[in-house]
Symmetry: C2
DNA sequence: CGTTCACTTGAAAGTGTTCAATTACTGTGG
DNA sequence: CCACAGTAATTGAACACTTTCAAGTGAACG
């Protein structure tokens, strides 16, 4: 496989990064330049720009001028866009280690809104700082492209979910996706808390809030999960995967 | 508005490009470097790498090694991904002036398949060539990011469509989107041919083929359009926009 | 300790799908 | 130029799934 100039990403997510700021905000994807060395000036920026948002507070809203990129250190965030008639469409839930507001880089405005689902700590990288870094470290741009490309892939899967799957498949897919992401961060993949409401989940999955409840109840009857309010425990991963019609480890 | 290092895109799509190869394959977005000058070596590549695909032929398939980026000169292309149980989800229809296979840059494999809907002429830019160009012309990377970011925005709208809109809204939105894209290329926005089948449309919109037919029939009864097989004529743009619940010129 | 909000559950009503049958077009070969 | 085959599009009717509306439960929080 020829090493392309842009195709720097060997698709491996299991990078090790010993630096403290690097690990806890998960922005390591950006800290590394192409060669693999760590960009210390970026890390320096990161540790100095921490902010906390309480439940319901907005990191940014649609149309606001693009000021900063956010990396989630802890907590969780819901992103949404607005339909033309004012309704919101939730486009994603984001947990520790994920980056927000990437494509605002291009439009120079935030194209979605981001709202904290619980008390959430983020690293805020001001765009001026980021611009400087881009000049020093050309690898940064590749990393950005890698991350944006990943976002495109994620959207593609979401389109399949919304366009082809029924309610059960959607819920199962959703639970498995969460499970996986928790596993990746060394949280339990079989027992976790949902930081989002049934209504948020329904919005995200294109289902009514009531349908979300009913499907969860059905899964519980069938012994696939135990769900108690925001607490979820997966009892039969294999069956859940069968319901989702998804291979064990697809995002 | 500060001119950011990466935020090169003034969001204006009305660039003028006098070079012939530039105009007819629509890759002008990539031909320009940050300063605005045209990258002649890229253009040179473009005019030398033309290929034609017949209806039903594939430009690339999922999982194949990434060899080239494609810019459509004429005709139309359908892109799709595969669900885990083998069904296809159409992710887009692409006409002259649009770029394909961008995010394969990162994964080094094609993540979707592209199939010609009719006889279609493309410019094929081999990745090696593209890599060289990236080294000479740093602006190219910004342009790529701009284009990928645009793709993300498009996906966001599609998610709203699939997650929130009913069948009528979806069809109306679809017709308006096509209309707009034809207008942008100086084709008639009120009278055009659909190069894709009802089945393709339904797949894309998350509807059954029969539903697509029924909605088109209903639109015709109500005097919004006249549709005769693949021919569509929009008679009442305003009402169609009202049905779509969309502002006159979104996307 | 009461109010509020999120969640849950039931029943009725839509909306879109599926299945099946028919019609219309396209292309091919005589 | 016509007949035929094959595909695409259309239409009808029954059905299934999800939503909507409504009411009730339970947890959280001041």
């Amino acid at each position: 496989m020829p090493k392309h100039h842009i195709a720097i990403a060997p698709a491996s997510q299991d990078k090790n990064c010993s630096h403290i700021a690097c690990n806890d905000c998960g922005i390591y994807g950006l800290c590394h330049t192409v060669g693999g060395e760590v960009d210390l000036s970026l890390l320096d920026t990161l540790v100095k720009n921490r902010r906390t948002f309480k439940r319901g507070e907005f990191l940014y809203r649609i149309g606001q001028p693009f000021k900063a990129i956010f990396a989630i250190r802890s907590g969780s965030i819901k992103t949404a866009i607005l339909t033309d008639d004012g309704r919101a469409q939730v486009t994603g839930f984001h947990i520790a280690g994920e980056l927000l507001a990437l494509n605002a880089i291009v439009t120079n405005q935030y194209t979605s809104e981001a709202c904290a689902l619980e008390t959430t700590s983020v690293c805020e990288v001001p765009i001026e700082r980021f611009d400087e870094l881009c000049e020093i470290s050309p690898g940064l741009q590749y990393q950005m492209m890698r991350i944006m490309s990943g976002e495109i892939l994620h959207h593609q899967e979401l389109m399949v979910l919304l366009g082809k799957k029924n309610a059960e498949e959607r819920m199962a897919t959703y639970l498995l996706n969460l499970s996986q992401r928790f596993a990746k961060r060394n949280y339990s993949p079989l027992q976790f808390n949902l930081s989002m409401s049934r209504s948020d989940i329904g919005n995200y999955l294109g289902l009514a809030e009531e349908t979300v409840c009913r499907i969860l109840a059905r899964f519980q009857e069938e012994g696939l999960i135990v769900s108690q309010r925001r607490k979820v425990q997966i009892n039969d991963l294999a069956k859940l995967q069968a319901v989702a019609h998804t291979k064990p480890m697809a995002i």
